[in-house]
């Protein structure tokens, strides 16, 4: 399964494809099968006035981003792991950290 994610053009905020469209909270990201994922990616890549460079995140059996993406997607889903804005994104959504190892 895969996730579809991107950054919103006008403010750079991370977006995740949810059940019915883009959502701000990675916890609501929809698990997509390959066909669905590719179709959505092909649709959204040219929509440059809305999103910038959408891409797919493969998930492992534990339903988390695969090893080679896990730090990056953890940080995108929750916020930096350090500094004044540690876990800021998770805080904004009033939830626990997701995509942990």
């Amino acid at each position: 399964m895969k996730l579809l994610t991107t950054n919103r053009l006008h403010d750079g905020v991370t977006l995740w494809w949810g059940e019915n469209g883009w959502v701000l909270d990675a916890a609501l990201a929809a698990r997509l099968d390959d066909a669905e994922a590719e179709a959505l990616l092909a649709e959204w890549k040219p929509r440059e006035t809305e999103v910038v460079a959408p891409y797919l995140v493969p998930l492992n059996d534990a339903d988390a981003p695969v090893q080679r993406e896990h730090v990056r997607e953890f940080v995108r889903a929750n916020g930096p792991t350090t500094g004044p804005t540690t876990a800021r994104i998770a805080q904004d959504h009033a939830r626990a950290l997701i995509f942990q190892d």
């Binding site: 919103r8 469209g21 006035t49």
Partner: protein, 188 residues
């Protein structure tokens, strides 16, 4: 509208995407923005040079053949080719096409400047290839005076480029005087 606000429906198969300004038909303009007819033909290297008409030769061909040709020709200089090698035959060159294979490849800015400032080349230097409105001012400053652009409104793109700045910190191949010349009334 934020993509979060737009309801997604399964049958949203046709999305009207905005069109980039650089995706229109190519037009040839001069440095006043006037449209020109492009009556130059780029010859393939194995095509014979005709006796009438305006022909653009590739760089390598020009190097080997210009010596033996009469009349005046165009030469296409690709990014990375050394325009100085054409020096012996500049009087036979009526047009230089300098190619921008991609707008990020800035090698031919140097080509134009060298032609204008080192050799005093007075003929048209034409920017071809990936020529976008945001680089037109830089090209003008380096000595380009013709442009093939794929902009929605080529004349407007050029006018807008010329009007962007009034301060020019350095002298180049155009007539703009650098700030230091204006500050100290130095003739440059």
């Amino acid at each position: 509208m934020s993509p979060l606000d737009m309801p997604y429906t399964q049958d949203q198969t046709i999305v009207t995407l905005p069109r980039a300004n650089s995706s229109y038909e190519p037009t040839l303009i001069d440095d006043s923005g006037a449209r020109l007819d492009n009556d130059w033909t780029l010859l393939a290297d194995d095509e014979p040079v005709g006796s009438d008409g305006n022909y653009v030769l590739s760089f390598d061909r020009a190097l080997t053949e210009l010596d033996g040709l009469n009349g005046r020709y165009g030469v296409r200089v690709n990014a990375g080719q050394d325009v100085r090698e054409l020096a012996p035959w500049l009087d036979k060159i009526a047009l230089v096409e300098a190619v921008f294979p991609i707008y990020r490849d800035g090698r031919n800015y140097s080509t134009a400047r060298i032609l204008r400032q080192d050799y005093g080349f007075k003929g048209p230097i034409r920017a071809v290839g990936d020529v976008l409105r945001d680089q037109l001012l830089l090209m003008l400053r380096c000595g380009f005076n013709e442009f093939i652009v794929k902009d929605r409104d080529a004349a407007e793109a050029l006018a807008s480029a010329k009007a962007r700045f009034t301060t020019y910190y350095q002298s180049a191949a155009d007539a703009h005087r650098p700030t230091w010349a204006l500050r100290h009334q130095v003739g440059v």
